[in-house]
Amino acid sequence: MAKALVVDDSRAVRMIIAKTLRDLGYEVREAANGREALEVIAVEKTAVKLVLADWNMPEIDGLELLKQLRRISTPDSLAVVMVTTETGMGRMAAALAAGANEYVMKPFTRDILVEKLQLAGIRP
């Protein structure tokens, strides 16, 4: 089963996203910030195929996490989707330039998340 990693400092948001991903067929891991996410990736290595990352988090934020992940992966080998309250065009462009596969603005619905993953060709 393909693994997905949900990175958000809000436990409630992690739970909502994780449930949606489980419904789609992913085995889900969770992390509360970028540092924890990198620790999970170090253990799981290439088993994780999808990362959904918040932007504003303590220790290592979502954009820095994305940049570090792109040093060891490509958008084809590891899909990274930003899920964030950062809705400025500049932020969105920066995330795409850093290698994000997609960008979901909070607040979002389950349907929005599922459709974004489908549109980006991301499936377990």
Partner: protein, 282 residues
């Protein structure tokens, strides 16, 4: 219950049967759309804001007002509330995949001399379908072609919104790839507006699908999605025949993902392209 002088309990009062029939007749006579006998909930949801706005007690009161005063403006509001449909960017992505992978390569070859393409979004609502097509065409490198996208709807209100090309965050968050959002939208506060490059390809006009359409064509593609389900069988057949007349030979008709068309073999060939169903004009 009254809150701040506004009655907000309209949905708790059942619509009387004669009023239900009256509303069905109003919608049918103005649009040809058949709302069947099990749409009580839909009437309540859609008309509650109008009942509240007018300070009325219930949908029954709204019907009484319409009968007594023949308020044309309120009548229009009721019909539009009942017939305005949900739409979002790149709805049914398989349709756009089929357009990119099959229709456009063929048209680019066939029209390499005239470089002219015409499309029609026949139930355009607030414009997301027509604008999605416009973005898809620009992404295919057709910005220097003569492209016309006609977008029509029976509702003047939604067309006014569509022309403005301004959308809320919840609307641009759905179905629209972030790369296209960054490329084709300008943000001003909470509003996201499409760029002139996308807007200039699209022309909006008010149109009732029951009227003759022959003069509108020829089109290479007609979107008529998620609207035929509301018409009775006879009206649906008449519209499908009219749509056929507007299509160029080999042009495509696309219906909604959950819609099917029967007894149209004389006019269309049904083809499956990827996950999309396409009706190709004979």
């Amino acid at each position: 219950m009254t809150v701040g002088g506004w009655n907000v309990s309209s949905s708790s009062i059942a619509i009387q049967s004669e009023n239900y029939r009256f509303l069905q007749e109003q919608v049918y006579s103005h649009t040809g759309i058949v709302l069947e006998d099990d749409k009580q909930y839909l009437f309540e949801c859609r008309l509650a804001p109008i009942v509240s706005q007018l300070g009325l007690g219930s949908i029954n009161d709204l019907c009484a007002l319409l009968r007594e005063s023949r308020e044309a403006e309120v009548g229009c509001q009721v019909v539009e509330a009942m017939t305005t449909n949900e739409t979002y960017f790149f709805r049914d992505p398989a349709h756009y995949d089929a357009i990119r992978s099959v229709l456009l390569p063929r048209l680019k070859q066939e029209r390499r001399d005239t470089r002219k393409l015409r499309f029609w979004s026949a139930a355009a609502s607030t414009g997301q379908e027509a604008y999605s097509l416009s973005m898809a065409l620009l992404e295919e490198g057709l910005s220097d072609w003569n492209i016309q996208i006609l977008a029509t709807d029976i509702s003047s209100r939604v067309l006014d919104r569509a022309r403005g090309a301004c959308f809320q965050q919840i609307e641009v968050n759905r179905g629209l790839p972030a790369a296209l959002l960054v490329k084709y939208f300008n943000r001003s506060g909470l509003v996201w507006q499409l760029s002139e490059a996308v807007r200039r390809l699209v022309h909006f006009e008010k149109l009732d699908l029951r009227q003759s359409m022959a003069a509108l064509g020829p089109f290479d593609l007609v979107f008529c999605r998620n609207v035929m389900i509301y018409f009775d069988a006879e009206t649906k057949q008449k519209i499908l025949k009219e749509l056929h007349v507007t299509l160029s030979s080999g042009g495509w008709l696309m219906l909604g993902g959950s819609e099917t068309a029967f007894d149209i073999e004389e006019w269309f060939e049904r083809q499956t392209i990827g996950n999309a169903i396409v009706y190709v004009a004979r």
